[in-house]
C-alpha cells in the first residue's frame, strides 16, 4: 500500500486520477498525521471535518472526470490567509477570535482547483519573524533535529507552521507568505521547496497585510514540480487588488523541461559575506558545479547595494506595518480590552493584543514615518530600494538567473537568537534583496549541514519570469537529489 502521506502532489494527482486511492482516503491519512504531529505545534486550527467534506466532494468530481488542477489534494493554509467561516488569527492574540466572513482570493483559487483544507498553520505573529517564535500560540518546532540532540529546532519563519507540517509529511503542501524571506527561509530550514513569486503574481486580497509593498503568497512543497503546480493554481490577476498584475498565468509545470543549456547564471559576489559558514559556501560552490554540469554558464555579478537591503527593509516593512496594523483597535473585530475611555481602550487592547516583536516593529515604523524623520529614514530607504532594484536590473542584462544560498545558517535551536532582534533579522540577509526588488525567488533543498540539518540554495529570477527559476530549480533539485527525511520523533513521543 502506498504511503499516502509520502507522496508529492504530482504523485497524488496521478494516484487519484488512476483510482489507486480516493480523495477521502488521502485526506483521512493526513488528518491522522496532523493529529500525530501535534507536538510540533505547527497547526493553530485543525479542520478535519471540513477536510472530509471537501474530500468527499472531490471524489464526486473525480468520478465524473471533472477534477481540477489540485483536486482532492490536502493542503495546510498559513493562518494569514482569511478563510471564510474558519478562524484566522495571523498568529496573534489580537485576532484570536476572528472569523472572517470572506475568503482570500488565493485560497478561493485553491478551493476552486479542488484542493482540501486540513487546517490553519501556526506562524510568527503578523508574519514578523524568521523562526516562528513570536506566535501567540507558542513556537513551532522543526521536524528536523540534530541527530543525538533533543533540543527543539526552529523551522524558520514566518511561515514556520506551514514548513513544519509539510516537512513532517502531515500535509502534502502548504501556502505561505513571503515578505522578506518568510517562505524561502523556512523552506531552507526544513528541506522543502519554497517559492516566492514576483510581487503582483498572486493576489493579496484577503491576506492579512504586514508590509503591503512586499507581501506575496507562495507555496511550500516537497518538490519543484509541486511548487509549480501550486503556483499556477494560486496565481492570477485580481481586480480587487490594485497591485495585482494583469498578466496571464503560465503553466509553470510545463516549464520543467529539465534543460538549462546555455542559461546564464549569476553569482552575486556581495552575497559572499563575512562570517558565512564554510559549509554554506561549499554548498553554494556545489550548486554552481551542478548547474554548470547541466550546461549552464555561471559568472560573477555584482549587486553593490546588497548590504543595505536588510536595514532598508527594516525601515520600509515596519513603516508599512505600523499603518496596516492600526486597524487592530478593538472596535470592529478581535480582542478588546476595556479602558477608561476610548484612547485607554485602544492602548490597552493593543498592548495586550500584540506581542513584543510586533510592538517593536510598530514603534519603529511609527517613528520612521514621524515628522522630522520621514525623509531621513523612510524616503532614504525607498531610494535605496530603487538602487537595489537597479542593481538586479543591471545584473539581469548579463544573466538570466542568480544563484545564492537561501539562509546564512542551518536551522538553530529554539531560544538561541530570540534575545537579539538584529541577529534574528540576519536570517533573511539573502532573501530580503529579492523581496525589496519584487523579484521571484525559490529555495531548493540542496544538502545537509554538518550537524545533519537541511540547507537550501536560492534562485532569483527576473520579474514575472518564474518559469526560468522553476526550470532551473528542477535541474538543481535533480542534481542535488536531496532525499533525506527527518525522523518522526514526534510520533514516538520525543
Amino acid at each position: 500500500m502506498v504511503e499516502l502521506t509520502h507522496l508529492t502532489i504530482a504523485e497524488a494527482r496521478d494516484g487519484l486520477a488512476g483510482g489507486v486511492f480516493s480523495a477521502t482516503e488521502l485526506t483521512e491519512a493526513h488528518n491522522t498525521a496532523i493529529e500525530a504531529a501535534r507536538p510540533l505545534n505547527a497547526m493553530v486550527l485543525e479542520t478535519a471535518d471540513r477536510a472530509r467534506d471537501m474530500a468527499a466532494r472531490s471524489d464526486l468530481r473525480l468520478a465524473k472526470g471533472e477534477g481540477g488542477m489540485l483536486e482532492g489534494i490536502p493542503l495546510a493554509i498559513k493562518d494569514l490567509f482569511c478563510t471564510e467561516g474558519v478562524r484566522t488569527t495571523a498568529g496573534s492574540h489580537i485576532l484570536d477570535n476572528f472569523v472572517p466572513p470572506y475568503e482570500s482570493t488565493v485560497t478561493a483559487n485553491l478551493w476552486r482547483a479542488g484542493a482540501v483544507m486540513l487546517g490553519k498553520t501556526n506562524m510568527d505573529e503578523f508574519a514578523m519573524g524568521s523562526s516562528n517564535e513570536t506566535s501567540f500560540f507558542g513556537p513551532v518546532e522543526n521536524p528536523w533535529r540534530k541527530p543525538g540532540d533533543n533540543r527543539p529546532i526552529v523551522p524558520g519563519g514566518s511561515s514556520g507552521g506551514s514548513a513544519s507540517i509539510v516537512a513532517a509529511r502531515a500535509a502534502l503542501a502548504a501556502t505561505g507568505t513571503d515578505t522578506g524571506g518568510s517562505i524561502r527561509q523556512p523552506a531552507s530550514f526544513t528541506g522543502l521547496v519554497g517559492l516566492k513569486p514576483t510581487y503582483g503574481r498572486c493576489s493579496r486580497w484577503g491576506i492579512i497585510a504586514f508590509a503591503s509593498s512586499l507581501d506575496q503568497a507562495g507555496p511550500l512543497t516537497r518538490s519543484v514540480r509541486d511548487a509549480a503546480i501550486m503556483l499556477s493554481a494560486m496565481s492570477g490577476h485580481d481586480p480587487k487588488d490594485s497591485t495585482s498584475a494583469d498578466l496571464p498565468v503560465p503553466d509553470f509545470e510545463a516549464a520543467l523541461s529539465g534543460d538549462i543549456k546555455g542559461l546564464r547564471i549569476g553569482i552575486p559576489s556581495e552575497y559572499r559575506m563575512d562570517g558565512l559558514p564554510e559549509e554554506i559556501e561549499k554548498l553554494w560552490q556545489q550548486g554552481i558545479r551542478w548547474l554548470e554540469e547541466a550546461g549552464a554558464e555561471t559568472r560573477e555579478v555584482s549587486l553593490p547595494h546588497t548590504k543595505y537591503a536588510l536595514p532598508a527593509y527594516y525601515i520600509v516593512a515596519p513603516a508599512e506595518a505600523s499603518s496596516n496594523l492600526a486597524r487592530y483597535d478593538g472596535v470592529r473585530y478581535g480582542l478588546r480590552v476595556e479602558g477608561d475611555d476610548l484612547t485607554d481602550m485602544y492602548e490597552r487592547t493593543r498592548a495586550e493584543g500584540f506581542g513584543a516583536e510586533v510592538k517593536r516593529r510598530v514603534m519603529i515604523g511609527t517613528y520612521v514615518l514621524s515628522a522630522g524623520y520621514y525623509d531621513a529614514y523612510y524616503v532614504q530607504a525607498q531610494k535605496i530600494r530603487t538602487l537595489i532594484a537597479r542593481d538586479f536590473q543591471s545584473a539581469f542584462d548579463d544573466v538570466d538567473v542568480l544563484l545564492t544560498p537561501t539562509a546564512p545558517s542551518e536551522a538553530f535551536a529554539v531560544g538561541d537568537k530570540s534575545d537579539d532582534p538584529i541577529a534574528m533579522y540576519f536570517n533573511d540577509v539573502f532573501t530580503v534583496p529579492a523581496s525589496m526588488a519584487g523579484l521571484p525567488g525559490v529555495s531548493v533543498p540542496s544538502g545537509l549541514s554538518e550537524t545533519g540539518l537541511p540547507l537550501g540554495l536560492q534562485l532569483i529570477g527576473k520579474a514575472f519570469d518564474e518559469e526560468t527559476i522553476v526550470r532551473t530549480a528542477g535541474v538543481l533539485e535533480a542534481a542535488a537529489a536531496f532525499d533525506a527525511q527527518p525522523e518522526a520523533w514526534w510520533e514516538t513521543g520525543q
Binding site: 486580497w205 508590509a211 514621524s370
Partner: protein, 480 residues
C-alpha cells in the same frame, strides 16, 4: 476691515470645502453612497477595514475631481499620489484616511465671486484633492458610549482649498455659494450642506494692515453659509479682542456652536497631529493622460460665469438679473425654458418676482414648482398676444400655482379672456359716460386726474377684462 478699540484690523480668511462626490459607489469600494440608509448597511469589508482588505479606485470619482478642477479654472496634475493620513478615531476604521498630500490631483485655480454691491472679487484656489470621508460617530445615544455608523466611511470627498484671499464674511459667504453653484452645475457634488454633503472648515486670522499674517484658528465642519459668516464674524472679533488686550492667539482647532453663535476650542487636548503621511503602498500613482483630461473638458456644461455672460449679451439682461438667475442651475434652466423666444425681461420678472415670491411663501424649491416652465411661458404668450390682460395675469398665475394647471385652461374656465373688441368696449364706455355726466363735465373743465376714474369704471364694468390700451384710446377719443 473691522474696527478695534485701537485701530483697524484686517481679517484674513481661507476656506477648506469638503464636497462629497456624486457617484453611485464609494471612492475605493463598491458600497453605495446613498444618504440615510440603515446603519452599517452600506459598508463593504474594505470600508470596515477588515483584515486583508484592499482599495480599488472608482473611475467616476477621478473624473468628477478632474471635472471640478476644470470648473475651478485649475491646473490638472497629470501625476498625483494617494497618501495615508494616519490617526486613530472610531469613525476611521483603518485608523488612516486615504487622502492626497504633496501631489494632489488638481493644482491652482480661481473662482470669480459676485458680491452684493455688484462688484466681483477673485478668490484663488490652492488645490483640490480626493480623499475618503469618515463614518459617523454618535455621541448622544448613550451616556458612556459612542455609536459608530460606517455608511459614510469611504465616500469620496473633494477637498477644495482656497487661498487666504477672503477678507470678510460677505465674501466668504459669496465664495461658498459660488463654489456650490459650480459643483451643482457640474453635477460633481449636490452641495447639500444640511445633509452634510458639503461642509467647510474656516481658517481665520487677523492682522494690522501691512503686517504679516497672524496666527490662525481653524473652525471645523461648518455646515451652512450663514454659520460660516457668523463664525467668521465671531472669531475675528474674538481674536481682535485678545490681541488688543495684549494677548496672543493660540493656534487651535475650534467648533462653531450654532445655538450660541460662538466658536469654542475642540475639547480634546490639542495634541500635535503627526499624521505620518506616506504614499499608500496598496495604490499606484494616478496618471492622467491629456486625452482623458481633454475629453472631460470638451464635455463640460456651461458654467455660471459663462451662462451669466450669455444672458447679458444674448438676452440683454442686466448683470444683476443674470446673476440672480444663474446662482442656481435649476433656476437658470427653468428660466431658459421660459424665455424660449420670448421677451427676456418679462420672463425674468415673472420668474424672479412672482414665481420666487410664491415659492418662498410656500417653502418650496424651484424643482418643486407647481408651475412648469412651459406653462409660465404660455402665460407670457397669452399676455403678449392680448388674450389676457396684465392685471388679470396675476390672478391666473396664482391659480396656476394652486392647481398646477395650464393658463389657457384657467382663462377659459373663468372666462377671463381680455376683451379687445372696440365695439364692445365703446358700448361700455358710452354707458359709463352716460351715467357720469357730472364727472365728465369736471374732467372737461380741467380735472385731468378723473381720467383714471373712468378707466377704473370701465375695468370694473368689464370685470377687468377690457383691454386697457383700447379702453384708453377710446376714452381719449370720447372725452377729449
Amino acid at each position: 476691515m473691522i474696527q478695534g478699540a485701537n485701530g483697524e484690523w484686517e481679517v484674513v480668511i481661507g476656506l477648506e470645502t469638503h464636497a462629497q462626490v456624486v457617484s453611485n459607489a464609494k471612492l475605493f469600494s463598491g458600497a453605495a453612497t446613498e444618504f440615510g440608509a440603515e446603519p452599517n448597511s452600506q459598508v463593504s469589508f474594505v470600508d470596515a477595514a477588515m483584515p486583508g482588505m484592499l482599495p480599488v479606485i472608482n473611475k467616476v470619482c477621478v473624473e468628477q475631481a478632474v471635472r471640478t478642477g476644470l470648473g475651478l479654472n485649475a491646473e490638472i496634475n497629470r501625476h498625483s499620489i494617494f497618501d495615508r493620513k494616519n490617526y486613530f478615531y472610531p469613525d476611521l476604521p483603518s485608523n488612516y484616511q486615504i487622502s492626497q498630500y504633496k501631489k494632489p490631483v488638481v493644482g491652482e485655480g480661481k473662482v470669480i465671486v459676485d458680491l452684493e454691491d455688484g462688484s466681483v472679487c477673485e478668490v484663488g484656489i490652492e488645490r483640490l484633492h480626493l480623499e475618503q470621508d469618515a463614518g459617523k460617530s454618535l455621541h448622544d445615544q448613550h451616556p458612556e458610549s459612542t455609536y459608530v455608523d460606517l455608511n459614510r466611511a469611504g465616500v469620496a470627498l473633494m477637498e477644495i482649498v482656497s487661498k487666504p484671499d477672503l477678507r470678510n464674511a460677505e465674501q466668504a459667504g459669496a465664495y461658498v455659494r459660488k463654489v456650490r453653484a459650480i459643483l451643482r452645475y457640474l453635477g460633481t457634488c449636490d452641495g447639500n450642506m444640511e445633509q452634510g454633503s458639503m461642509r467647510c472648515d474656516v481658517n481665520v486670522s487677523v492682522r494690522k494692515p501691512g503686517e504679516p499674517l497672524g496666527t490662525r484658528c481653524e473652525i471645523k465642519n461648518v455646515n451652512s453659509v450663514r454659520f460660516v459668516q457668523q463664525a467668521i464674524d465671531y472669531e475675528a472679533r474674538r481674536q481682535v479682542d485678545i490681541l488688543e488686550e495684549g494677548g496672543t492667539i493660540d493656534q487651535e482647532t475650534r467648533l462653531f456652536d450654532s445655538d450660541r453663535g460662538v466658536t469654542r476650542p475642540m475639547r480634546s487636548k490639542e495634541e500635535a497631529h503627526d499624521y505620518r503621511y506616506f504614499p499608500d503602498p496598496d495604490l499606484l500613482p494616478l496618471e492622467l493622460s491629456e486625452d482623458f483630461i481633454e475629453a472631460i473638458r470638451a464635455d463640460l456644461p456651461e458654467l455660471p460665469d459663462q451662462k451669466k455672460a450669455r444672458f447679458v449679451e444674448a438676452l440683454g439682461l442686466s448683470d444683476y438679473d443674470a446673476g440672480v438667475l444663474v446662482a442656481e442651475k435649476e433656476v437658470a434652466d427653468y428660466f431658459e425654458k421660459v424665455v424660449g423666444g420670448r421677451d427676456a425681461k418679462t420672463a425674468v420678472n415673472w420668474v424672479t418676482g412672482d414665481l420666487f415670491g410664491k415659492l418662498n411663501e410656500s417653502g418650496r424649491e424651484i424643482a418643486g414648482s407647481p408651475v412648469s416652465p412651459a406653462d409660465l411661458g404660455g402665460l407670457i404668450d397669452l399676455i403678449a398676444d392680448g388674450t389676457l390682460s396684465g392685471r388679470l395675469a396675476k390672478e391666473v398665475f396664482d391659480a396656476m400655482f394652486e392647481s398646477g394647471r395650464p393658463p389657457a385652461e384657467i382663462v377659459e374656465e373663468r372666462g377671463l379672456k381680455q376683451v379687445s373688441d372696440s365695439g364692445e368696449i365703446e358700448a361700455l364706455i358710452d354707458t359709463i359716460i352716460a351715467g357720469n355726466a357730472d364727472k365728465v363735465a369736471e374732467y372737461k373743465s380741467g380735472k385731468d386726474k378723473l381720467f383714471g376714474f373712468f378707466v377704473g369704471q370701465v375695468m370694473k364694468a368689464s370685470q377687468g377684462k377690457a383691454n386697457p390700451k383700447v379702453v384708453n384710446d377710446i376714452l381719449r377719443e370720447k372725452l377729449g
